[in-house]
Symmetry: C2
Subunit: 145 residues, 2 copies
């Protein structure tokens, strides 16, 4: 087997883990007790009123079981409100609480800055290339899987 360190998958893992660590640290350092995944889910819900958990799971690229549990936590921590959907009783209406909205508003600039800092020195063309290649890999894994 080729040495794992020499494969591109190692670099991909390394970069995304570095980013997650970096992003989480900057949020914690500002005094917010929320994970980047939780923030991501809050953002998706706020931007897509009426969204189903299934659709959140697709957008966040997470398993629906994970979404169930993250939402549970978000409700427990009072970031999120969950009401039954009157039209489809299998579903729930998710909405941010005032505290959730407030927190999201405050962490958004941190998240934006994190992203900006992480890609500093990478040109627009490089970003396009990077995106295209990654999408090619994703497509390979999906079609062959």
């Amino acid at each position: 087997m080729a040495k794992p360190e020499q494969t591109i998958f190692y670099n991909i893992e390394e970069s995304i883990k570095s980013y997650r660590q970096f992003a989480q640290k900057n949020i914690n350092d500002e005094g917010y007790d929320i994970t980047i995944d939780q923030g991501l889910i809050l953002n998706i819900i706020q931007e897509n009123p009426g969204i189903s958990q299934k659709e959140i799971s697709r957008r966040a690229f997470k398993d629906h079981a994970s979404i169930t549990r993250i939402i549970e936590l978000l409700v427990k921590r009072d970031f999120l409100k969950r009401d039954f959907n009157s039209e489809d009783r299998r579903r729930f209406d998710l909405s941010l609480t005032e505290f959730g909205k407030d927190t999201l508003t405050k962490i958004e600039p941190i998240v934006d800055l994190n992203r900006k800092n992480a890609i500093e020195g990478v040109s627009v063309e490089e970003m396009e290339l990077l995106k295209n290649i990654l999408q090619k890999i994703t497509a390979n894994c999906r079609t062959k899987g």
Copy 2:
């Protein structure tokens, strides 16, 4: 906040998750009950006799607590043998059992094929570019973190 789906980090997450899913499925389909992380750790140990858990954690880009637990599992499942190190009693000597060696030998061609298939259609130049850009992102996150 910019839409998460439009950031490069989304593409990175998407590609690495697709790859992991694809790779794991192909190993399971061949009848092996081992995770790709466990296989990775076995490979690192086999290729680096006498390696410490600390060093494994650095190479596998995993937290040392994760390594402790993965190794625990590998021992429990009889893939790995763990003896006290006579020179430094804080450390352990890790080595693959016959079953571990055998399993690794058998999954290696699958792993190689997985990697090959996942990057099909990506040129050598593109791979170099991809690697360089990812390393730039990693470096940004580390130096700014």
